[in-house]
Amino acid sequence: MDKLSEQAEEILESLWVMTVEGDNVGCLLTSLKVEPDSEQLLELVRLTYVEVRGDRVYLRKEGRPEAQMTVRRHRLAERLTMDILGISGDEGNEQACEFEHLLRQGVDTKLCTLLNHPTTCPHGNPIPPGECCIEARQQGAAGIVALTELKSGESGEIAYLAASDDKKMQKLMSMGVLPGSQVLLVQKFPSYIFKVGHSQFAVDDTLAREIHIRRPVK
């Protein structure tokens, strides 16, 4: 299959977000900001990924897998730029937009495995699972997630603390929040409350994101 152009990928992505995740029926050409006779659109029509009727573009069944994977790559890229590289705000978004187009030919799978098969992007939108995620789940991999990803009442073992701020990590460590400790998440809102041993702690989401938990193998 020929590589889609970057702009064509962007169109697919927007279509997915608006029609599959949102409740729009088709998309106005104007809201996609494309001309009806633009190169990228024609490219997608040729591949039968989309269909243009009147002033609206519709995502066809044939186009769904590709659109889904495009969204997946975008959100994985966001995880990479924002969580790992620590670039936040508009800068992070821009970088993610550039990165996503490089995540092809298995690079997305590798990145996904490196990030431990995340299920949501930093903005909280779902990341469509790839084959690697499904496989990992079938193998029953325990998976390491941030404390923010646990549900209230769920417990696990602290796998590691992401050391973005030395002082804060030291504080957590000296309070006994250390890798290897068992934690029980008591509450998520308005602050995260968890139990280690017989003690309870409250942290805000900045700190909670830095505590990574190994879920017990089911």
Binding site: L172, P179, I193, S199, D204, L207
Partner: protein, 651 residues
């Protein structure tokens, strides 16, 4: 700080909330604040204790989690260990969390300090199904270990005995992983100076870039030696950049696990008890908000407002002073002080008796007293940490973390004390924002009492006052959070178990707070009375008032109100009381009353608060806050006046 004595020193250390202060009281018989809120005893308390005819000086330090200080309080605690030469260091821990707190015991032992371990709250641990073999732990650690329930004085005799019998025995160092040991050894070999802490501990703290220790070593070592040391440390820290702190912590924990093997046996835990349920309700926003409203309504509105500022003040001021005490006293002075100026000084309108003592005892004492009682009660239950986590998200909007809820709430009692407590906040930025908000928009209980009394007859005025102050608080908070440089705060806090407050603790704590309030405030009352008297006598007061009157006129108030504002600086509530007089004589319409009340509430902190600000925040910041608050108060007054007049809201 108290004068240095030659008595052997005994230093109490430990996490917040393990009953350190209870141990201190049991040993000394004196009282310091015993609190269930992490970090309210910022000052170091000193007391004495006599065992077998020998006198010991006991020092109670602020809570610390490890030998590496992070907050200012921990730094205070650690500096005592670095600078004093203790006969014994009592490490108090909570039996329930022994595995979590023992790493600090290791650090103390490792530092070569004469450690006694007190495993406190052992009764609660038993209730949780924990069995502890402390004899075995004592053998493992090689230091005296005492099981205790200090609240009921269980273990006190053993502790006193242990202090009296203490003799330092050489200990075998706990061994960490080989690679870490190798690095520690590399640093130790370059340390030659004389230190209070052991070279091993000094090496570890150096490696962890502890600034105080680095400074100390820089002073103690020769220049060449220090540079060599720096080089070694740089090399090791780079090699271990990924996980130095973590590895040290993990190694310590490994040692602890070894020490505790066979010591702790844990039976199956029982179901949730009532206090745990209540705790959950307090922390859940859906149930927590109604609980907060209930606490504010019953505690502040009903008890402090109606009972303290109403019933008690009426009784003290209206009945006791007006009818029984004042007439004979004034009469006495009339007869005995012939000179007019002397009578004015003592019993005149601004006299020491009238403005100083009577005012402090009859008006301020009941309000502040009832407030401190409620505050101490809440503090001892452990409600505040739960409130802190509830409001953290909201407080982040104004640049503060949930932690700041304590100084802010305390500010409604006394802004001066609250300014002192802002020390417990972590960053300078947070401390400045909190100090400023306290100075600007948080009325203290004395002021609140008078203003509520003033406005209660006019529900509309009261509503405008409340809404306007709230808006200013939020607006200035949000702006400060945007304008002030620095990172936004991170929130973390240990949530201690809920406790039923002990009546004696609450009462004594309230009395201690009231006492320190009076020791600090009463002289200022008297001083203020003196200044005002002198001002009146010399005519200075009049010229100051004349100077200010254009500003007052500008915000739509009668010239007579100027006096209230000048007074307001001496005591926030003086000012409000001055308005009271104006209103009684019918000089203020509702709009003017509201504008005056708002401006006065926002207007400068009282003298005492300003002095504490100077001490805590420094001259530059304090002056800036002062100027800002003054400008803000009058421009708000001007704005509100324009707004109310043009809309006719309170006509």
């Amino acid at each position: 700080m108290a004068p240095q004595t030659s008595h052997p020193k005994v230093v109490l250390v430990g996490n917040p909330n393990v009953g350190k202060s209870v141990v201190f009281n049991a040993l000394t018989g004196a009282y310091t604040t015993v609190s269930n809120y992490p970090g309210t005893s910022v000052e170091v308390s000193r007391g004495f204790c006599t065992i077998d005819d020998k006198r010991y000086e006991i020092l109670d330090t602020p809570g610390m989690y490890s030998m590496m200080p992070i907050t200012e309080e921990e730094r205070v605690a650690r500096s005592i260990l670095l600078n004093e030469d203790p006969h014994a260091v009592i490490h108090v821990i909570d039996a329930r969390n022994i595995d979590r707190m023992l790493p600090m015991t290791l650090q103390l032992i490792e530092a070569g300090l004469p450690v006694v371990l007190v495993v406190n709250i052992i009764d609660e641990a038993k209730r949780l199904g924990m069995e502890l073999d402390l004899k075995l732990l004592q053998e493992n650690l090689g230091i005296p270990v005492i099981g205790a329930v200090m609240k009921r004085r269980v273990g006190l005799d053993e502790l006193r005995q242990a202090i009296a019998d203490y003799s330092m025995v050489p200990y075998a160092p706990f061994v960490y992983a080989t690679d870490l040991e190798y690095d520690i050894d590399q640093i130790i070999r370059n340390i030659h100076g004389d230190y209070r802490l052991s070279r091993r501990a000094t090496a570890l703290l150096l490696l962890q870039k502890d600034t105080d220790v680095v400074d100390l070593v820089a002073k103690q070592e020769t220049k060449d030696n220090y540079e060599q040391l720096q080089e070694t440390i740089r090399e090791i820290s780079f090699r271990r950049r990924a996980d130095l702190h973590l590895q040290i912590s993990l190694e310590r924990r490994k040692v602890c696990t070894k020490m505790l093997s066979g010591v702790v046996t844990q039976a199956v835990e029982e179901g949730e008890v009532f206090t745990e349920k209540l705790s959950r309700w307090m922390m859940n926003p859906l149930t927590g908000a109604p609980i907060l409203i209930l606490v504010v309504y019953l505690g502040l509105y009903k008890f402090v407002g109606s009972f303290g500022a109403g019933t008690l003040v009426d009784f003290l001021e209206g009945t006791l002073f007006e009818q029984y005490i004042n007439p004979p006293v004034v009469d006495f002075f009339h007869r005995n002080l012939s000179a007019e100026w002397l009578f004015e000084l003592v019993a005149g309108e601004y006299g020491l008796w009238t403005l100083g003592i009577r005012y402090a005892v009859a008006l301020v004492l009941p309000i502040v007293g009832t407030f401190f009682l409620v505050f101490s009660l809440l503090e001892d239950t452990g409600y505040f940490p739960r409130l802190a986590l509830l409001v953290d998200r909201l407080f982040k909007q104004i640049g503060l973390s949930g932690r700041a809820v304590i100084p802010i709430v305390l500010g409604f009692g006394c802004d001066t004390m609250a300014t002192l407590v802002t020390r417990t906040l972590e960053t300078r930025r947070e401390r400045i924002i909190a100090t400023m908000l306290l100075a600007l928009a948080i009325p203290c209980s004395a002021q609140l009492g008078v203003i509520l009394g003033l406005l209660s007859a006019q529900p509309g005025a009261l509503a405008v006052w409340t809404v306007f102050l709230l808006l200013v608080f939020i607006l200035i908070g949000v702006l400060a959070a945007k304008v002030l440089p620095g990172e936004s705060p991170v929130f973390y806090m240990e949530i201690p178990p809920l406790r039923l407050p002990q009546l004696r603790n609450v009462v004594v704590k309230t009395l201690t707070r009231m006492q320190s309030y009076f020791v600090e405030i009463l002289p200022l009352f008297l001083f203020a009375a003196l200044v005002l008297w002198a001002g009146k006598m010399t005519g200075t007061l009049e010229s100051v008032i004349n100077m200010f009157s254009p500003v007052v006129k500008l915000i739509g108030l009668p010239v007579e109100a100027t006096t209230a504002f000048v007074f307001g600086f001496f005591r926030r509530d003086f000012g409000a009381a001055g308005l009271y007089d104006l209103q009684s004589s019918g000089l203020l319409n509702p709009t003017q009353l509201t504008v005056a009340a708002v401006t006065l509430t926002l207007f400068v902190p009282c003298v005492a608060q300003f002095l504490v600000m100077l001490k805590e925040r420094g001259f530059r910041v304090s002056l800036m806050i002062f100027i800002f608050v003054t400008l803000m108060a009058f421009s708000s007054g001007w704005f509100l006046n324009r707004f109310l007049v043009s809309t006719g809201l309170l006509m």
